[in-house]
């Protein structure tokens, strides 16, 4: 049962990721990317990390996908029909195949994969909140600072350069 669910999730996620990287229409790419992110959220739920799964849905399917669609719509137009791939596509493809080969080889050789699944851990949001407020409070504050800086920086970078022209 678990294997069938995992196979469906994996197939949908891989297919959506391939579509997001290979389609010509950029809006279709963004939609396929959303499906891939949702598939990953389903994988997190399947692994028993409910909080992370719903965070993934909120942040990626909700926010990042909208940002990507906005960027696509803002940078579209006047782009002539050209080739899909960049000039260095052959080297990039070789590097990709090499990386995939090394990763699969390392996974196949590793002894970690023979580990049996322990009992389903019972993680509540209360536990996560207590960990965030006690043990991980410094990283939490740093991430808050980073998000504030990124917000201000993104607005300043994308702002129109009035009067400079």
């Amino acid at each position: 049962m678990m294997n069938i669910v995992f196979a469906i999730i994996a197939a949908v996620t891989i297919a959506a990721a391939v579509a997001a990287m290979s389609l010509r229409n950029l809006v279709h790419c963004a939609l396929a990317l959303t499906v891939a992110f949702a598939g990953l959220a389903a994988a997190y739920l399947q692994l028993g990390a409910e909080f992370v799964g719903f965070t993934q849905l909120l942040v990626y399917v909700g926010a990042v996908a909208i940002l990507v669609v906005f960027a696509i719509l803002l940078t579209r137009g006047s782009e002539p029909q050209q080739s899909l791939v960049s000039s260095g596509w052959l080297a990039g493809g070789l590097v990709t195949i090499a990386v995939l080969g090394v990763l699969v080889y390392a996974i196949a050789k590793s002894s970690v994969v023979h580990r049996a699944a322990p009992a389903q851990p019972d993680v509540t949001v209360l536990q996560i909140g207590e960990a965030l407020m006690n043990k991980f409070v410094l990283p939490l504050e740093v991430v808050g600072l980073l998000l504030t800086a990124a917000l201000i920086g993104a607005v300043i970078i994308a702002m129109k350069e009035e009067g400079r022209k």
Binding site: A17, T75, L84, A149
Partner: protein, 103 residues
């Protein structure tokens, strides 16, 4: 197949697909999407190893992924703002045409 190996293989393929998009496509937005996919593949590895670890009650993997999602969101916002600024300057989002500093 062992469940942990399945998740690791899925993560490896997602990473390779993202890397292929980041290295081979010529549109800057697709390059950024590829980088996001690679970050997500790493997150999946963290969650899988957390689930199959001996002490999942320490929550280390979950915490790392939560912070990683936060950093990735900041990266996406700044990256897309940079792409919009570059598009406004060069009138293109093609990584092959953006090849000069202080242009």
């Amino acid at each position: 197949m062992n469940p942990l190996a399945g998740y690791l293989i899925l993560s490896a393929f997602l990473f390779a697909i993202g890397l292929a998009g980041a290295l081979m496509r010529r549109n800057a937005i697709i390059v950024l999407i590829g980088i996001e996919l690679m970050l997500n593949a790493a997150n999946l590895n963290f969650i899988a190893f957390w689930r199959f670890s001996d002490h999942p009650e320490t929550l280390t993997g979950i915490m790392f992924v939560i912070f990683s999602i936060g950093v990735a969101a900041a990266e996406a916002a700044v990256g897309l703002a940079l792409i919009i600024a570059i598009y406004r300057h060069y009138k293109t989002a093609n990584v092959d045409d953006v090849n000069s500093l202080k242009g």
